[in-house]
Assembly symmetry: C2
Homo-oligomer: 276 residues x 2
Amino acid sequence: FNLNLMVVGQSGLGKSTLINTLFNKELYPIENDGLETAEQLEEVSEVTIETASSDIVENGVKLHLTVVDTPGFGDCINNIDAWKPIVEEIENRFNIFLEAETRINRTTIVDNRIHALLYFIEPTGHSLTALDIQFLKRVHEKVNLIPVIAKSDTLTEEEIYGFKQRILEDIRNQHIKIFEPPQYEDLDDEESLQITKEMISKIPFAIVGSTQKVQTADGRTVRGRSYPWGVIEVDNDDHCDFIKLRQLLIRDFMEDLKEHTAKVLYENYRTEKLLK
Amino acid sequence: FNLNLMVVGQSGLGKSTLINTLFNKELYPIENDGLETAEQLEEVSEVTIETASSDIVENGVKLHLTVVDTPGFGDCINNIDAWKPIVEEIENRFNIFLEAETRINRTTIVDNRIHALLYFIEPTGHSLTALDIQFLKRVHEKVNLIPVIAKSDTLTEEEIYGFKQRILEDIRNQHIKIFEPPQYEDLDDEESLQITKEMISKIPFAIVGSTQKVQTADGRTVRGRSYPWGVIEVDNDDHCDFIKLRQLLIRDFMEDLKEHTAKVLYENYRTEKLLK
Ligand SMILES: Nc1nc2c(ncn2[C@@H]2O[C@H](COP(=O)(O)OP(=O)(O)O)[C@@H](O)[C@H]2O)c(=O)[nH]1
Ligand SMILES: Nc1nc2c(ncn2[C@@H]2O[C@H](COP(=O)(O)OP(=O)(O)O)[C@@H](O)[C@H]2O)c(=O)[nH]1
């Protein structure tokens, strides 16, 4: 089993931390020692593509998880072309698959296409920014889009609720397609449908990441962040939606993400390319 | 007594909330219903200048506090000229004062010059961004600069410590002048010097703003933010540096801010202007 995720968002939104949290190990260094000096970033849109892979075990099954990070996105003074290297990466992977399809026995092709793009929204509390909207419109027809609210421990429960409403409103008004977990009314049992409905009701997920073990007030050791006023727990459904994100990506809808990529997004790309 | 503050920073960093917290009343609407639609902000740098004034009482003395907000700064896809309207506003106020000086009896001039600029740094945890540095270099010789870490409840105590070090390092390397509370070794008593030293050691201040009254776990009613994992208190020195900011601006160094503006920043501007 393999799954290819891409993470996109401005520097400092906790992307590396989230990748490590999903893998449950330190894969990406959390660069706290400052990024490239500001001069380098000043005028030019400098987005780089970095890939890391590791195996994780889910329900006794080994999953080869690949994550493509995109540092530099939105970090310049002029971000007009920030979207380009990312769209290029998604399309390159489609092209590689297209070439492989025309030559080799199809069952031996490795699927390196991006199965889902996690887009990190800054927790401003207001609504989507111009850069968010420009980027999402550039990618939503090429990849399964999963927008998440980064560092959601910045917002109170009330603020998260309002923020999610406004984000969904922007997504609707701008006609942006985001991945929606399919509900197989006639196939799934009542409990699975209920879990899916609940998951859908939380989109966009408000996430918090951490690989650090901390002590809660009542003595439990959990993954979380320790503040003078309290401890936020990553794996606690009352504190954030991390568990729901992990369930969507790895436990419940991995096959749907890969299938939709192969049968819809890739096919549309292939058709468009062949028509040119 | 009057004091003119300007606040600058990207949307969603809590500027309006902080202004209200300083005034201890709702002066600026907290725009949670979404800003202008993204199309308007897309290409053009749309920074607007908004002024609000109110009287606050400090130690039984009435202070007329004016705050100039600068919504739109850094909110576009291309922010190359975001600094311009702000520098223009600072210089316009210098020009107005310059003209008034040449005509009226000096003791009746109203001082509308900006006495301090609070620059809101996004709590990424990394270091200053290209936009931060470009802006600070454009204004540090025209106004007293007070950089603050916005929404500092996003960061743990450890992260705040490291972040402050890296910010100060960037400021040094980029030769950016920030306001430093003067220490009058021979004039002040031991206690005042100690308070000043402690204040300086906290710069850049890590601030949290709120006008909401919330209940702490031990039953006190405080200004703060209530999360499922705990309550952060705005007026608690162990939780953030808001009190220190308020003390610097209003209780301890207001006269120094105004004096430095009048005798150094304005004089340099006036000399430069007359030489052209
Ligand atoms: N408040 C909060 N801080 C986080 C979270 N995840 C990571 N951080 C912190 O944010 C800073 C930047 O994280 P990093 O993963 O390097 O962000 P990246 O630049 O997007 O890769 C570090 O100090 C992290 O400890 C989170 O969920 N909530
Ligand atoms: N975590 C946190 N959130 C804050 C703080 N101050 C304000 N907010 C929230 O951040 C959001 C934006 O605040 P606002 O004052 O409108 O920001 P502005 O766009 O910079 O004027 C609102 O949901 C506020 O409640 C703070 O100190 N910490």
